[in-house]
């Protein structure tokens, strides 16, 4: 078996456990998007075109709040800014690959594929580029179809759930669940706290402007806390 093929299979194995997260999360998106008024084609398209759950939920929530589409886009993009980091840290590994390989790899860059790939690539940085990409694509090849499929399943399930199940609250609970495990250091906690405080005190502002201001203030607060903690060491 060629080393490229072996790397691909290893990638599949490393990515497989994340199905446990992707499937319920995709179903939840299908369900929530349906509740919000998207039809099945719009919901499915969003999962296929955007492929970034947290930003899909955020953009959708902003639209539901009645803001114009560009505010929804900005909010979703703000959530996805973390992928700049992913792209930058994969660049030394993928930089030498043909351009069209990198263009395809970009589509498959999500939290899970990045997390799986960077562990392996940093451990074995001297592999050929084709082996590295094969591992990355392997990690993506179960999660992506599962994400599409579970979104569709969520739409079908959502249509059958009566409104008294308080599904409105799935969205807040999900965001809390997504962010809580990352509150592992003081700067993260400071950022989250500032974000909550600013958004609650500015929530009278139109067009979800409060969210932009809260996010920028919180980001600066987190980064500044980190810088000061380092300076003290």
């Amino acid at each position: 078996m060629s080393s490229t093929r072996t790397a691909f299979y290893h990638g599949i194995l490393a990515g497989a456990p994340f199905l446990l997260m992707a499937v319920p999360f995709g179903m939840l998106f299908g369900l929530v998007a349906t509740e919000a008024g998207l039809d099945i084609f719009q919901t499915f398209s969003m999962s296929v075109i955007v492929v970034a759950g947290a930003s899909q939920f955020s953009a959708l929530q902003v639209l539901v709040d009645g803001a114009p589409f560009y505010i929804a886009v900005l909010t979703g993009l703000a959530v996805n800014m973390r992928m700049l980091m992913y792209s930058a840290s994969l660049a030394p590994h993928f930089g030498k690959a043909p351009k069209w390989h990198r263009m395809i790899a970009a589509y498959f860059m999500i939290d899970q594929t990045y997390g799986v790939a960077i562990l392996e690539l940093d451990k074995n940085p001297d592999q050929p580029v084709s082996t590295k990409l094969a591992y990355f694509f392997g990690a993506a090849c179960l999660i992506f179809p599962a994400w599409y499929g579970s979104t569709l399943a969520g739409v079908l399930v959502g249509a059958a759930i009566p409104p008294e199940y308080a599904l409105d609250f799935v969205v807040p609970v999900m965001f809390i669940a997504l962010v809580a495990p990352s509150l592992r250091s003081l700067p993260h906690i400071v950022a989250a706290f500032v974000s909550v405080l600013v958004s609650l005190s500015l929530s009278w502002m139109p067009f979800n402007l409060w969210l932009m201001i809260a996010a920028i203030a919180a980001m600066i607060a987190g980064a500044e806390t980190e810088r000061r903690l380092r300076a003290r060491l």
Binding site: V73, R102, W210
Partner: protein
Amino acid sequence: MSDLSIWLTIIFLGIGTYLIRYSFIGFFADKELPDWLLRHLRYVPAAVMPGLVAPLTVWPEATGGDPDPARLIAAAVALFIGAVLRSVLGAIFGGMGVLYLVQYLLN
């Protein structure tokens, strides 16, 4: 929200997200992110999501914007499970489970 605004959101969010993903493996393959920018990007999720969720939690639309004990307790439980057990799914199911339980007990 109109069909048009939904489609515009899907398309522009899709294109923008793709460009973010492609940025450093494509356009700036030979450049590095400056330290100060990396330091800020690290806090993006913790800066955006709590702010998004806070008004929805404190003033839920389903109760006409009045604070609701069941939802506040559910949010606290989700935060606790997520932060302590580091389990995203555990926090979602725990939070929703507690919401149904408290709603059942209060009614």
